[in-house]
Structure formats: structure tokens, C-alpha cells
């Protein structure tokens, strides 16, 4: 009879690493999304170009390759990252590229009349963006941000390939040591699912809170 409790402890440790990666990756993704998304609607050509290049590159190449690049290739140019740093970097930049398009789309979905009200009230471009456009656009972004965060959570599994002890890595360890495939992989399947549910639920309640007393922002 296998001593499962010890192995479950191992898997729970992996869950913590996965959660840590998801949180840190999401923060980086969010920062990149706003930088690149707003860069896409900038009036400066150079910023638009830079943002577009970033988005196309990170959407157009595999997260798997990006991760290997961050971990195995960057050291050749003198940048050595820990597995966690490499994982956060690859996940954040990759998902950030997708989310940047969400930011751009949401900003552009705000009606022209809101921009015109900003002009008529003599708000500067940045003032209008910060106080009028972005707060309304945020509500439009949220549901898709929820999607992106779940994508990021699931993508964290690739970091097991650079020996980061996340959920998937630990499940493989348990499988190697016990010879049992069903139990560890069913367990992490359920844990991933619960984590994704938590994200959905969190984003939805955030949406509800922000939508209170508001109309006209979302059709």
C-alpha cells in the first residue's frame, strides 16, 4: 500500500508554486498589456511600432520556445535567470501580448462621444485616458482578462520542463516513485480546475462590483 499522504503533500507544494507563478505572471502580463495596449493607440509612430512588434512576436512564437530561450539562451548573453524568474518572464510576456490586444480593443470600444466630452472639458490626452476612458474600458476588459488569466494558469505547466517544481512536475515525480499514473494526474487535474474556477469567480465578482450603478459602458 502506497503512503499517499506524503505524496499529496508534495503535490500541494507544487500547487503553491503554480499559484505563485500564476500570480506573478499575471502581474507582469497586466503591466505588459497596458504598456503595449496603450502603445498601440499612441499618436507616436515609434511607440505604435514597438508595441505591435512585441505583440506579434510573442503571440507568434510558442511559449515553450520562449521559456527555453529565457532559461537556456539568455545565459549566453550574460543574463542568468532562476527557473522561477524565467517562468514568470516567459508567461508574463506571452500572455501580456494577448491581453494587450484586449486593452487596445476596450479602449477603442469607448464611444467617440466620451473622447469629445474630454476635449470639450479641456482635459489633456492623459487626463482623459486616466479618468474617463480607462475606468470605463476596464470593465470591458475584465471578462477577457479572466480568460487570459486561466490561459496563464494552464500554461504554467510548461515550467516543469525547466525543473521548476510546480503541480505538473510534482505529479511526474509522484508517478515515477509510485508507478501510479491515475492518482497523481487526476489529482492535479482537479486542482487546476479548482484554481481556474477561483479565477473565474474572482473576476466575475470584480466585474459585478465595478458595474454597480453604471450603464452605457457595456451594451
Amino acid at each position: 500500500m502506497t503512503q499517499w499522504s506524503g505524496y499529496f503533500g508534495l503535490i500541494l507544494q507544487g500547487a503553491l508554486v503554480t499559484i505563485e507563478l500564476t500570480l506573478m505572471g499575471s502581474v507582469l502580463a497586466l503591466i505588459m498589456a497596458f504598456l503595449a495596449g496603450m502603445g498601440r493607440v499612441s499618436r507616436f509612430f515609434a511607440l505604435r511600432w514597438l508595441a505591435t512588434a512585441y505583440i506579434e512576436f510573442f503571440r507568434g512564437t510558442s511559449i515553450f520556445v520562449q521559456l527555453f530561450w529565457a532559461y537556456f539562451v539568455l545565459p549566453f548573453i550574460g543574463i542568468s535567470l532562476t527557473p522561477l524568474q524565467a517562468g514568470v518572464l516567459a508567461l508574463g510576456l506571452n500572455v501580456g501580448a494577448y491581453a494587450a490586444e484586449v486593452v487596445r480593443g476596450a479602449i477603442q470600444s469607448i464611444g467617440r462621444e466620451q473622447y469629445e466630452a474630454c476635449t470639450a472639458l479641456n482635459l489633456g490626452r492623459w487626463q482623459g485616458m486616466r479618468h474617463i476612458i480607462l475606468p470605463q474600458a476596464l470593465l470591458v476588459m475584465l471578462p477577457t482578462f479572466g480568460n487570459n488569466a486561466i490561459e496563464l494558469l494552464k500554461a504554467t505547466a510548461v515550467v516543469s520542463l525547466i525543473s521548476l517544481t510546480d503541480l505538473t512536475f510534482q505529479a511526474q515525480v509522484v508517478r515515477a516513485q509510485t508507478g501510479n499514473t491515475l492518482v497523481p494526474f487526476t489529482t492535479i487535474l482537479i486542482i487546476y480546475f479548482i484554481l481556474a474556477l477561483l479565477i473565474s469567480w474572482g473576476v466575475r465578482s470584480l466585474e459585478r462590483r465595478m458595474a454597480r450603478g453604471l450603464d452605457g459602458v457595456r451594451a
Partner: protein, 263 residues
């Protein structure tokens, strides 16, 4: 500036949307404190004039002077250069606008809608901005709704808040673009009453684009009839509405009356 100089001086401006020429060499002047009504068929260019004065549309040619200064040009060493954003920002302080569809900020309460711009653009402290906002909301009869969100207001109420919001920046010139067109008939009167009071009590210069001929008659010192981007006829309200000289003005007014609008 002497009191007799025009506050708005439009000098042969033109504006096209694609191949459609909305304004073609239009010139007009407005004196300080004047209340002007711009009437005419749709597409005659009257709304475009307001949008150009608010810098929401650029002109293709010509010059505009506001309060003795060029709106779209800057004078540098005796030369006229295209205005930069800083110049436009300075010029916009003189002008306020109220829109057909109110354009309130839906995520801000009534009070914040009114105080936002003074606090951000003039650095007015919150307490002072809120005191002024309450006075203005009082004037438009919306003081008791200061904490409400725009979604909780009727169209007429939204428009009265929008008027207070524009007034909060104390512009010299106010532009009203079909401010009652989007309202249910029973709500039109409450907005008009606010504007009548405003016209009677302030010496602000006001330009009004409207399809309400009766309102234009009461509100304005001078009425301009537009057709195809030109002023066809202008004069005192009584002259234009009771005794129009131009055939096109007569035809337009006849059509408006036939459509059930009161004059």
C-alpha cells in the same frame, strides 16, 4: 479688448468631409454677450460650426479668432503657424459645449461629473469645486441628485447636469448643439427653462443649434438661417420667423411648421 470688438470672428473657413463640402468660405462674427440661434436643414453645416469652434473638427482653410486670438493658428515672429496642443488647450478654456446626447461620464456621479474638469484643468481644490458645483446644480435644479449616477437620471436631468458641467469651467462662450433633440417631448421644456434663465442672467456669449423654432425665437438676439454651408439670411428673431425675405428660409419654415413644430 474693447467691448465693441467681436468675440468670435470667422473668416472664410471651409470644411469638407470626404468629397462633401460642408462649409464653403463661411464668414461671420459674434459680439460678446450675444445669443445666437443657428437654424437650417440637416447637413447645412450649423452643427459643424459648433464642432469646429470646440476644436472637435479641424478646418481645411480660413481663420477663426476667439476673443482677439487665433484659434487654429499661433502667431510667431509675425507669422501664422498651425496651432499646437498647448495653444489649443489655452484657447479651449474660453469655450464650453453641451452635446445632443449629453456625453456625461457614466462611471462618475453627478457631482464628480461637474467637479472633474475644474479640479484637473484649473487645479481647483475639491472643496471649492464642490461648492461651485452645488451652486450650478442648484441653478439647473439638480442639487438633490448630486450623488446619483447618470444612469439613474432622465434625459432632461442628464442634459441639465451636462449644462452645469460645462458652466463649471466658466467659459466665455457656450455652444449648445441640438440639446433638446434627443429628449422625450415632455422633458424638452425643463431643459429650455434652464437655458432661458441662463440666457437672461448671464452675459456669456451663446450659440445655439436647434430645430425648436419657438425656443430659438425666445432665446436668441439674432437668428442665422443656414443652407448648404452658407448663411442665407440673418436678422432679429421676429424678422426671420414672421417675415423671412429669402425663398429658402420661407420654404424651410413652412416645412418645419408642417412637421408640427411650433413657431
Amino acid at each position: 479688448m474693447s467691448a465693441s470688438a467681436p468675440i468670435i470672428k470667422i473668416d472664410s473657413i471651409s470644411k469638407s468631409f470626404g468629397s462633401f463640402k460642408v462649409l464653403d468660405g463661411l464668414s461671420m462674427q459674434v459680439m460678446p454677450g450675444e445669443k445666437l440661434a443657428l437654424i437650417g436643414p440637416s447637413g447645412s453645416g450649423k452643427t459643424t460650426i459648433l464642432r469646429i469652434l470646440m476644436t472637435l473638427e479641424r478646418i481645411d482653410g480660413g481663420h477663426i479668432q476667439i476673443d482677439g486670438e487665433q484659434l487654429y493658428h499661433m502667431e510667431r515672429n509675425g507669422q501664422l503657424l498651425p496651432a499646437d496642443e498647448r495653444h489649443l488647450t489655452r484657447m479651449r478654456q474660453k469655450i464650453g459645449m453641451v452635446f445632443q446626447l449629453f456625453n456625461l461620464f457614466p462611471h462618475k456621479c453627478v457631482m464628480d461629473n461637474v467637479t472633474l474638469a475644474p479640479m484637473l484643468t484649473k487645479g481647483t481644490p475639491r472643496a471649492a469645486a464642490e461648492k461651485r458645483a452645488m451652486e450650478l446644480l442648484e441653478m439647473v435644479g439638480m442639487a438633490d441628485k448630486a450623488k446619483n449616477m447618470p444612469a439613474q437620471l432622465s434625459g432632461g436631468q442628464k442634459q441639465r447636469v451636462a449644462i452645469a458641467r460645462a458652466l463649471a469651467l466658466s467659459p466665455k462662450i457656450m455652444l449648445f448643439d441640438e440639446v433638446t433633440s434627443a429628449l422625450d417631448p415632455e422633458l424638452v421644456e425643463e431643459v429650455m427653462n434652464v437655458m432661458r434663465k441662463l440666457a437672461a442672467e448671464t452675459d456669456m456669449t451663446m450659440l445655439l443649434v436647434t430645430h425648436e423654432m419657438g425656443f430659438a425665437h425666445d432665446f436668441a438676439d439674432r437668428v442665422l438661417f443656414f443652407d448648404r454651408g452658407r448663411i442665407v439670411e440673418e436678422g432679429k428673431p421676429d424678422e426671420i420667423f414672421r417675415n423671412p425675405k429669402q425663398e429658402r428660409t420661407q420654404g424651410f419654415l413652412k416645412k418645419i411648421i408642417a412637421a408640427g413644430h411650433r413657431v
